[in-house]
Subunit: 199 residues, 2 copies
């Protein structure tokens, strides 16, 4: 499935799309994508809406990417975890197949799978959601310069070595890559009136 | 009135707020502010809504600034022209008095005052709006390296020399300062689904 580990030369200006969601204030939750050149420069912003606790995130995000004028340039998509808008789980293998763009999931800490599994019992299609989570694959650690700066990743269509390079290239202001840090500022700022917290 | 020309040492990481509006799609028009450190790094996003062709932009933008957690750090506010959301004119002298922060208005080209004056005839309070436009003061040219990169500015509470320094420091990707370029990408991207055009 994700056996293609498209290893590529990573230029300093590689185009990366970072996607975050906004606060859970209503049934429709805004997701914001930022198109960055490396960690330096934002080239564009895209937006779409997904359903709180729905199962439409994968399709809607894929469509948002494919209709963007930046689609042909984007070399990797970064997600802030795989559950958006509550428990709207993103199928990263499907996303890679549908868009042809490698996917990197970034997490500040290891997810608590027992807690997630337990919460999914409240969903009729909880098992389907759990399978999507399992399909996202192994969680790997990317060690920062200091141990406390480590982050965790999952990936589709890209080698760990390339993930490592892209994370280092783009994490210039914190241990979170700029495309995700800025997508978070936008999503919270627009919905809450002022940005807050960390991606 | 704007006799105080607070000249200050301009650090590379000076905090600048750039404000742009979104497309005129409804009665309420979103304005987006980006808080930048110099031209490099976005620290935050703020948002508010003003009325299409209303006269509430000055008050609402001042309140948006004063309630922000970044208020104490912001050293200059940049506007993309002084008419937002149609003909909702921003009083930059009033803004400087209310916030204590110098205001820099940035324009790609000299505004067509005859056209504006003529359009204002459709407003009962057209004369009041025209006075606010006059109060924004002289339009000065900031020459780029190439003549075609020149921009035009108006200002309140700041010397032309300081304006020049701040424009040069922050215009690292185009002839438009980063806080305005990025505010424009966010405002159009969020409202239209994908960012477009130039600030």
């Amino acid at each position: 499935m994700s056996t293609v580990n498209s290893d590529f030369h990573i230029k300093r200006e590689i185009r990366i799309l970072g996607i975050d969601d906004s606060a859970l204030l209503s049934e429709k939750v805004m997701v914001v994508g930022t198109i960055f050149r490396g960690g330096d420069w934002m080239d564009g912003v895209i937006r779409a809406d997904i359903t709180k606790d729905g199962l439409d995130a994968t399709d809607i995000i894929c469509n948002m990417i494919k209709r963007s004028k930046h689609y042909g340039q984007i070399r990797a998509v970064m997600l802030d975890g795989i559950t958006y808008a509550g428990f709207n789980v993103v199928d990263i293998q499907m996303m890679y197949r549908q868009t042809g763009i490698p996917v990197i999931v970034v997490m500040r800490s290891k997810p608590d799978f027992e807690k997630i599994k337990s919460a999914l019992k409240n969903f009729l299609d909880g098992e389907e959601r759990w399978k999507i989570i399992e399909r996202a694959g192994e969680i790997e650690e990317i060690t920062g310069e200091k141990k406390k700066n480590s982050i965790y990743v999952q990936r589709a269509g890209i080698s760990l070595e390339s993930v490592n390079k892209i994370i280092r290239l783009t994490s210039i202001r914190s241990n979170i890559p700029e495309p995700l840090r800025v997508a978070h500022l936008i999503a919270t700022g627009i919905i809450l009136g002022e940005s807050r917290g960390k991606a």
